[in-house]
Symmetry: D3
């Protein structure tokens, strides 16, 4: 099963040994798009001007979700995140784009933390809006960029 | 802020009152697609024939993630899930489709549990394969079907 | 050790048997006060007019904290909360008052859920403001009112 | 794969459907034995007469661990426990016996909750004593008795 | 919104970047007071002489709560605590004082860990005694002292 | 109470101060045995050849359980695990042996992480098989070996 790093000699999943890897600064940026109907989108956008809006709840959820990554993704190492920031863009009617930047100084990357935070942010937007639109679509969700570590720089 | 059910009189988010809602049987089916390059996809498919494969780890993660929904999504009510099942399809090269069925007997629906389980399943596939392909795409993720509760039947 | 309900025959703590108690509607209202210096208080109040303000983060934290009660307080039974709402008042300069209402339909009361949510809300306000004022004071925190269950109605 | 109830039609694990099962009263009693050298055992026993002793920490841990069962054991349904009690016996030098009784009113049994609480209790005894004796042995751990549900009464 | 460190450029909350901050030894001491009626206070004090007393349960809860801080407080960084100690004083009838000392070697302070542990300790005292006195008051809770980090020494 | 390291000056449990301890590489290996009747054992062994087998679910559970150790065992310090691997042996009919290896680079050992992972692995095997055999026995569970730290090398 060459290529996969998560399997041990018995062919079963394990948490790979990172004890010999260097502690370096690592950054990852993930992206996720949420698509909804126009009237919900308008309601979310107006909410942004008010207290307690959809996006601010989603963002708190995303940050807390990013911190739970190693509890949610079985083979993820626990990590001390040093930064987790979430920004939103609403580039056109019906679209909310989520950008998550995560930093750590450690022996393994933070791609999963960024992707998990982005997914939880999107799921929370769905939850806050589902009474108005059950057809909301989450994704695509992907890694935009990563820096640091042996595998080096990646940019989509 | 008509239409949103998650805000209180101060315009802030709250966990809506479901104490007057009926306990009925509720089902939700969520879907999520994972897109990867062909060689990783082949490796995952072969893994299916062996112990400890990618999909079986992803599936355990998805089930455990679905049970964590009310801990991850801020305004979700805690719920006693009575069933959570995940099935995979690989309809064409490069595509893994995730179907999650969740059931409960309770006062609120299980859409978020199904969507969260589907997302965590996809994230885990990404994690298991990211050493081979950092460009894997998660989504679209959406609700396929729901049944039970006042808002009734929904099918995409 | 009469009077305490949390100890077993060996004199050790246990989770008391509620299997014979009735499922009734139960409500609890908790209060917590946060005292800070005037300039921080002004900054928080202005934040209320903007997105991402201190109180909306604190409120999401309080709701999520309330749901974690049985995971935080050793002898608390897990409970299906049917409502959790948090409201703020700023009755005078330097004071933020937190009111938490929790409802359930179950065999035990929700006092601890309301008090835990109120405490987490206050702690989060501290965290968001501590760069400006390390002397912020949390409390008093107490039960304002409870309804339902054998011990009946309580009002402070 | 007849006999196993935790696998779906694809041969993968799932959380079995309990939505058609009756809500009945269910009880389970689990047992776990801890074996340690005589001097540690004496120290633990003396500790029982003082505040903050080993067994009282272990017992709080066991109760909290029992409540986490569905978060720890992948295919366990979340359950509202109505009682969780832990008792200790020290039948002879070097032996601490742990008895855990769990009750619920629900659609599935509480064997796993009792066994998990017993295991966490034992692990905590190990942790509290390991500076003095790294050779402590945990187990055997088994189900002593269960009552309620379709599979009926079991006694070892 | 000068003064607040928890907001990003969009005015939303984030987990601030500590990747450039030094790893130094950091200590924080928090205080919390619990006020109860005299008869409950006597019962708690007597319990101190016995196994399984209120304060020892509260203390285990406080330690475990302190470790959960970054899971409870949205913008808190995960931290490797190197010490967490809780002491009680009962300076006069009706009063229990809680002192929590937390240490770490890291890039950010442990004030929130100390305050969270103190609050959870108090909440657990409430829970253990509420059958006898629903009017128990928690607080004031505040930071007594902190050391280490750029903002330096603070003493109330 | 000489010999115990988990008690403070008031005789109560605390999380001992490790801030002066060195960061060294630490390894621990734990063992746990599961005993079941022959027909279940055969079913588990055959399952190994298929997707979704009992042992692969148990193994994912064990890895995730190991990461939760400081959340489950009250006085355990949070730790950044750098490796967690689980292997199975089936040395004779009716016996499944679990071997867990954990590594970290830190100020305290990983014995508890290895023992907790081994226990959760065994508990999950029980859960997956309990429909066929309620009499399955878990244990003995013990530390096989540890390396690193002031107390040095231990081998059973």
């Amino acid at each position: 099963m060459e290529g996969f790093t998560h399997f041990n000699e018995q062919g079963r999943a394990n948490m790979v040994d990172i004890s010999e890897k260097c502690e370096t600064s690592r950054t990852a940026v993930a992206f996720s798009r949420v698509k909804m109907n126009d009237s919900v989108w308008e309601a979310v956008r107006e909410g942004k001007m008010k207290k307690g809006d959809v996006l601010s709840v989603a963002q708190v959820a995303g940050i807390m979700g990013g911190k739970k990554t190693s509890d949610i993704i079985p083979m993820c190492h626990p990590l001390m995140l040093s930064k987790l920031n979430i920004e939103f863009e609403m580039p056109e009617t019906g679209i909310i784009d989520i950008y998550v930047t995560v930093k750590t100084k450690g022996s393994t990357g933070v791609e999963m933390e960024a992707l998990t935070a982005a997914s939880v942010t999107g799921l929370t937007i769905y939850d806050m809006c589902k009474a108005m639109d059950k057809g909301i679509e989450l994704g695509p969700t992907y890694l935009l960029e990563k820096e640091g570590g042996k595998s080096g720089y990646f940019k989509r």
